[in-house]
């Protein structure tokens, strides 16, 4: 949490403070790293190299130099001529070696050198399986990222999202889990009826989502590894918008049993329901603050959708409105450090992803297109993944709070409703 906090301090105010972590640069001025070709099997190293480079590039915080852009390519500490790297303004050197012991074991050892200090700052070994190089590579990316920036990396985390394909004039919906770079897609659920609002349990072992497979929106929890799933609540009316409490013990939900959308908290162990909202307007899209003390939700009670917050630690607390700019602010989620919220904001007839820090009195628009929605924040708080619509096709795009932008590889059909897992590494 402290590390995540740090980056927000750095971005919001240009103060260089004395901190344990070495953050020397903002991201208009990226870290320059030289990645020397790893020693060992070439085809494996090429795969690892391209995944790592792609991971680091996506963060927007690095300028990566490869062998052919360098003055020298040392293979060990003794061979490093630091002046060769200083001349190219390289801050860090990464070198490593891959060894495949047998068919089922592979290991990558890598080292990171600080050019200015002329010293080795990290030596790491990652053990994996040869035919599962992607996650192994993501571990290396995250090791480099955290060593250089002082912030935990998210290359080894996963995304959950929904795809829709039209086959024989009928929709096929899939709930998909993929690596944070959009690769390694695996299907969790296939259905002929819509799936929306997927979200990860805090330990990232289960997912909750809304499925219309019975003809009506209902919330299910599914174990990723075993595939076992359960309807969270038997009820005659529709249920939607699941959100896990940070401790994983509760699920906030929108229930329609009162003839209107109201937010309840479900105790997952004993299935007790506690009603949280009571208003004739729509109340939905609940989400928990990082420490579990507050729930934010979208309500139409002011005449247009706005975000409200309710304090769970205070008896009978009234919802407090927290957005005032514009006539559509919805689907909010808290930054992992609790210092602000990310949400969907309507401006000039466009729906954009927006950020508001609690200590600022204005909304920062993060995107500019017309139909951006479903923002989900990476567990380190640095990246936001969201859904965009381009010529009627749904795609996933991402942005970092340091200003980088990226898109996930195009898939077949429509892609929507991304949700970022917790840390897996």
């Amino acid at each position: 949490m402290k590390k995540a906090l740090l980056i927000f301090i750095l971005f919001s105010q240009p103060i260089i403070s004395e901190l344990v972590l070495e953050i020397t640069k903002g991201s208009d001025d990226p870290y320059s790293i030289a990645i020397i070709n790893f020693d060992g099997p070439k085809n494996i190293n090429n795969q690892i190299g391209s995944i790592v480079t792609n991971d680091l590039n996506r963060t927007g915080e690095f300028r990566i130099l490869k062998d052919n852009q360098l003055l020298s390519s040392p293979v060990n500490q003794e061979e490093i001529n630091y002046d060769d790297f200083k001349l190219l303004n390289v801050d860090f050197i990464v070198m490593g070696a891959t060894s495949q012991e047998d068919k089922s074991n592979i290991s990558v050892a890598y080292e990171i050198y600080n050019v200015n200090k002329q010293s080795k700052i990290r030596t790491s070994t990652v053990y994996g399986i040869p035919n599962r190089l992607r996650q192994l590579s993501h571990y290396i990316s995250d090791g480099i990222y955290e060593e250089v920036t002082g912030i935990k990396g998210v290359a080894s985390t996963r995304l959950l999202y929904v795809t829709e394909q039209i086959i024989d004039n009928k929709s096929l919906f899939k709930l998909v889990v993929a690596d944070a770079d959009g690769e390694n897609e695996q299907v969790l659920l296939r259905s002929r009826e819509p799936i929306i609002s997927p979200s990860w349990s805090p330990d990232s072992k289960e997912v909750a989502y809304v499925s219309f497979e019975t003809g009506m929106a209902k919330v299910y929890i599914q174990n990723i590894a075993s595939g076992s799933r359960e309807l969270v609540l038997e009820n005659n009316s529709q249920i939607s918008s699941p959100s896990w409490s940070p401790n994983g013990k509760f699920l906030s939900l929108t229930l329609y049993q009162d003839g209107n959308a109201e937010i309840y908290i479900l105790n997952l162990k004993n299935k007790n329901l506690t009603r949280l909202t009571n208003h004739y307007s729509i109340d939905t899209e609940s989400s928990w603050s990082p420490n579990g003390s507050k729930i934010m939700f979208t309500s139409g009670r002011s005449g247009s959708p706005q975000l409200y917050e309710i304090n769970l630690r205070k008896f009978n607390a009234k919802p407090k409105r927290i957005t005032f700019e514009g006539n559509y602010n919805a689907k909010g989620s808290y930054l992992p450090n609790g210092e602000g919220i990310v949400f969907v904001h309507r401006k000039d007839n466009s729906f954009q992803i927006a950020l508001k820090y609690f200590n600022e009195n204005f909304v920062r628009a993060l995107t500019k297109s017309r139909l951006d929605e479903s923002p989900s924040i990476s567990p380190n708080g640095n990246v936001i993944i969201y859904a965009i619509s381009e010529d009627g096709t749904g795609l996933l795009a991402g942005l970092t709070l340091s200003g980088a932008r990226f898109r996930l590889p195009t898939k077949i059909g429509q892609v929507r409703e991304p949700s970022w897992s917790g840390f897996l590494r």
Partner: protein, 167 residues
């Protein structure tokens, strides 16, 4: 001399990640970790058979769709006209039961649109009930923006998608 500053040991399933952070004079991190790459199982959603209405009922209600303004769920005069004939059909035939499905256009968030679709379906139900139809003959649900009638991203399509369908 080396001294172990921090040892973090996280258990994930039965595999482990071990991170040693050892600091020396030059403060170097040494880590060792085993990649956890969990398996995933695919599940097929069970499909509920749609209880099909009989032919006659379907014929009466085929065109019973009413439309709404953006972020609104009130019925306009045209909608009331549409619903009047449906009400009288239900009065004439006591065996008819209906489902009202509310929908929204693609603008705005999916969950809010699901709730909005529900409000639209409820508004139609309220009209039936106020007109003397037993509420037990009516069920409501919402598809939000998930089942558009028209796929365009323009006002013409949007106005066709902000609807409640009576079946």
């Amino acid at each position: 001399m080396l001294s172990i500053k921090k040892i973090k040991n996280i258990n994930l399933y039965n595999l482990f990640i071990l991170v040693f952070l050892i600091s020396s004079c030059s403060s170097m991190n040494v880590t060792e970790e085993v990649v956890y790459d969990g398996g995933i199982r695919t599940v097929e959603a069970s499909m509920q058979e749609n209880t099909e209405l009989d032919y006659e009922t379907k014929a009466i209600f085929t065109n019973a769709t009413v439309y709404f303004e953006f972020d609104k769920f009130n019925l306009n005069s045209k909608s009331l006209q549409t619903l009047k004939s449906a009400v009288s059909a239900m009065k004439d035939n006591q065996s008819i039961r209906i489902t009202i499905a509310g929908h929204a256009d693609e603008r705005g968030t999916r969950e809010y649109n699901l709730a909005l679709g529900q409000r639209r379906a409820d508004a139609v139900k309220d009209y039936f009930v106020l007109s003397g139809i037993d509420k037990n003959r009516i069920s409501v649900k919402s598809y939000g923006e998930e089942r558009p009638a028209s796929f365009g991203s323009d006002e013409v399509s949007y106005s066709k998608n902000r609807r409640a369908e009576i079946n």
